[in-house]
């Protein structure tokens, strides 16, 4: 379909003949569309829906009969235990500390993850030099490709007690070295800084793509009317960004009970001294179940996290739609 033949109005992008067709008839166009979507549909079915039967683990006490296959063992051999597997999570009084950590970090990440990349995307879009713009974009995007394990070694090079760069600087200045991996106080700031540094470049690209697509004539009109840059941002850029901001916000709220395992486990080098300030639900479950390999407990925790995430997405979507009916995700 050429662009010339596409109707300009939103919602009428399909030709009249297509819209009026008898839905029961299967046309050549349908074959094409099904062909295009098939790999994605199969991918989703195979990797997202079929494995969902694993939820059963959350309500089973896993046991094995060596003469039987995995499915038989899961559905027949393993006993139902109801909500027994969920009990484990709340037996440990420290769980509230871990839930608190997960929520606090995620809320901060959520706020910074929206304001910081948007501000930077807008700033970069006002750069006159396209070369400098590209350099900035690439520089901010690069950390996205580093794994947390690699970053953890960089961080250690800075924070090592006896060989770290920072402690060497402190020593040279006549101070006392700090045992970074035993002191909880600086770690919330370190983790927030690192997460922002690693992720904002990627988020920024999403907002940059939107900003680049805005109708430039609106900005020209605003300039002719004497609008300052701040007024242009406030009056044009931010309102136009609202739909994408809402979608990003709703999607991120869904992950508020989960955490980036690499950040909280590897970067802190799993230091027990930092546990109180840096252990999140995922890290706790990993550490607590590392020895037992208890699938029931870990599945129960994941199910709980995802159920809460799903409910939060629905609530946030409803709230967003209440404020602005056009900005919801669904």
């Amino acid at each position: 379909m050429s662009l010339k033949r596409m109707p300009a109005e939103r919602g009428n992008i399909f030709p009249e003949s297509y819209r009026r067709r008898d839905k029961k008839r299967f046309s050549a166009d349908d074959v094409e569309l099904i062909g295009i979507s098939l790999p994605t549909v199969i991918w989703y079915l195979a990797f997202c829906y079929v494995p969902m039967f694993g939820i059963v683990f959350a309500f089973k006490s896993w046991s094995r009969d060596p003469k039987q296959g995995f499915l038989y063992n899961l559905f027949v051999e393993s006993e139902w235990v109801g909500f027994g597997n969920f009990k484990f999570l709340f037996l440990n009084p420290k769980i509230w500390n871990y839930i608190g950590n997960t929520l606090t970090y995620n809320i901060i990440f959520l706020l910074i993850g929206i304001t910081f990349p948007v501000a930077l995307a807008i700033a970069i879009s006002y750069m006159y030099s396209s070369k400098l713009r590209k350099v900035c974009q690439t520089a901010t995007f690069l950390p996205h490709f580093l794994s947390w394990v690699v970053i953890s070694y960089f961080v250690y090079a800075f924070l090592s007690t006896d060989r770290g760069l920072i402690n060497n600087m402190i020593l040279n200045a006549g101070g006392t070295p700090i045992k970074w991996y035993q002191d909880t106080k600086p770690w919330p700031y370190i983790l927030i800084f690192l997460n922002t540094w690693k992720t904002f470049g990627y988020s920024m690209v999403v907002y940059m793509a939107s900003i680049t697509g805005f109708d430039q004539s609106m900005y020209e009109s605003a300039v002719i009317d004497g609008a300052t840059i701040w007024q242009q941002i406030k009056g044009i850029t931010l309102p136009l960004l609202r739909p994408i901001l809402s979608i990003m916000f709703i999607l991120n709220v869904g992950n508020i009970f989960s955490s980036d395992f690499g950040l909280f486990y590897h970067v802190t080098r799993n230091s027990g001294s930092l546990a109180q300030a840096t252990t999140t639900i995922d890290v706790y479950v990993y550490k607590a179940l590392m020895e037992d390999n208890n699938y029931g407990y870990s599945s129960a925790t994941s199910l709980l996290q995802n159920t809460i995430g799903c409910i939060l997405i629905i609530i946030t979507n409803m709230a967003v739609k209440k404020i602005d009916p056009n900005s919801g995700l669904f």
Binding site: Q182, A275, Y284
Partner: protein, 494 residues
């Protein structure tokens, strides 16, 4: 035409006979899962191919040897992947737990008939693999089977933990004599001597796991926190770990040494201790006469061992290495596995092949018949020998032509074991039952700062006071009472 048809028929018949003969002589193939800490050795397949040629000819059995990490093994087990033999022990793919679940084959009825030489070679240590397992018979009735559920790969069976000291420095430069045994606290003067000469180095450099084997003053009964000390007047009483004075004394020493700067300050988060780090004191579990740590080209100096723990014996220590057969395997495969182990126990050349690789390529024989690994062997085919079979039937390893091992070292070591006292609770396994989730939580609480504890980073007295208060509040006493009740019942039944 008739001739052609006849010829074709004759050829076809010959072919069929050929195929049937070939299939009759086809060796039995065993899928064998074994342990590795990381990747499989690079030359593993090459060595296994060479071994298969010999075993196919001698006993009609070949193996598909697969190296798996602990995580991979658990996943493959649970996914229902098929195997015939698997490496199992006290610390990897837990033998007692899996055998009690009925995952392994009872080899006891087959042993004397099909592998008598194997039976004799392992005797009297079959008890390491002996267990009473509750099973269902053909009518669905519960029965208790007292069987042998694995083949012990005999190696050192007792617990002896040694300091590995820089002999060149302490004996060569300082003129001291490193004793055969010492107390843990005695190490302080060695640490101080090194620190005095090398003020910017840490003589007791360690990883977050602490000194290898230093905790083995007790049998762990539940997790890492409920134990029975080896040295105690009440050898069947379960106590929290902080009530074992020998362990507590060690962690107190470590904390003192940490404060004195003998231990690296980031030990609690340190993941590795490479050989290139010429730390003058290391620790390890071994046996008298062990030369595996004595090669100066690897360690940078001559090493002398000094024992500071043991010798102790328990069921756990006897279960250092076993190979079990899948309960789902056929009798034919079970017999093949027994015959394969019989060959490993009785044919030293075959055993050396799987243990050290190909002669001339991966190792050479020293003048006294012991084995010296080549550089290629150390690089491409090096792992803990017991993962491919018994250690006592392989040739003893020497560090090099000047640091030779005693070819008869196992006779000496096993003579000691015959007189050794085995901890009385050997064979007891705690059934957590309704306390399973509480035990997991208690373990998490105890382990939260374990790395800091075992590296001396924190004050152990403060730590034990804090965690014990938390653990008792959550119900530790209930777990202790339950374990003790089960243990008393077990001891009464014995």
């Amino acid at each position: 035409m008739k001739k052609l048809v006849s010829l074709a028929l004759v050829l076809a018949m010959l072919l069929c006979v050929g195929v049937s003969v070939a299939s009759a002589e086809e060796p039995i193939k065993l899928i064998w899962w074994t342990s590795t800490m990381g990747d499989a050795p690079i030359d593993a397949q090459k060595v296994v191919d060479a071994a298969n040629k010999i075993s196919a000819e001698k006993i009609g059995v070949v193996v598909d040897l697969q190296f798996k990490t602990s995580d991979q093994l658990v996943m493959d087990f649970d996914a229902g992947e098929y195997y015939d033999m698997v490496f199992t022990c006290d610390w990897y793919n837990d033998f007692d737990t899996n055998a009690a679940e009925g995952l392994y084959y009872n080899v006891e009825p087959l042993l004397k008939e099909h592998a008598p030489a194997l039976y004799d070679a392992v005797d009297p240590w079959w008890k390491a693999a002996q267990l009473e397992v509750t099973m269902e018979d053909e009518d669905g009735e519960e029965i208790v089977v007292d069987g042998i559920w694995g083949i012990p790969a005999l190696k050192d069976l007792g617990i002896q933990v040694f300091f590995r000291l820089n002999q060149d420095f302490y004996e060569g430069e300082l003129g001291w004599t490193i004793p055969e045994t010492m107390e843990f606290a005695d190490l302080e003067k060695y640490l101080k001597a090194w620190k005095d000469v090398h003020p910017n180095e840490y003589p007791l450099h360690m990883t977050k796991s602490g000194l290898s084997g230093f905790w083995q003053e007790h049998q762990e009964i539940v997790g890492d926190y409920l134990v029975i000390p080896y040295k105690t007047d009440e050898p069947t009483k379960v106590v929290p770990i902080w009530e074992n004075p020998y362990y507590v004394e060690k962690v107190r020493c470590l904390h003192k040494w940490y404060e004195l700067g003998y231990i690296n300050p980031d030990a609690a988060i340190n993941e590795s201790l490479p050989m290139e780090l010429r730390t003058p004191v290391r620790s390890g579990t071994a046996w008298n006469g062990y030369k595996g740590w004595s090669d100066p080209s690897v360690y940078g100096f001559n090493v002398k061992l000094s024992q500071y723990i043991g010798p102790y014996m328990s069921r756990a220590s006897m279960q250092g290495a076993l190979h079990a057969i899948n309960a789902a395997a056929t009798e034919e495969k079970a017999i093949a596995a027994l015959k394969y182990f019989e060959l490993l126990y009785t044919d030293t050349a075959f055993r050396d092949l799987l243990a050290y690789g190909i002669e001339g390529e991966h190792f050479t024989y020293a003048s006294n018949g012991t084995v010296i690994r080549t550089a290629l062997g150390s690089e491409n085919y090096s792992f803990d020998t017991y993962v491919t079979g018994p250690v006592i039937s392989a040739s003893v390893r020497s560090a090099n032509e000047t640091v030779l091992g005693d070819p008869n070292q196992w006779d000496v070591v096993y003579e000691q074991y015959e007189k050794a006292v085995i901890a009385p609770v050997s064979g007891f396994r705690y059934d957590k039952g309704d306390y399973a989730d509480l035990c997991t939580v208690l373990q998490d609480i105890y382990m939260e700062k374990y790395s800091e504890l075992c590296t001396g980073t924190l004050d152990p007295d403060e730590y034990f006071a804090t965690v014990s208060a938390k653990m008792y509040e959550l119900g530790l006493q209930d777990v202790i009472d339950d374990v003790q009740a089960q243990l008393d019942e077990y001891m009464a039944s014995k």
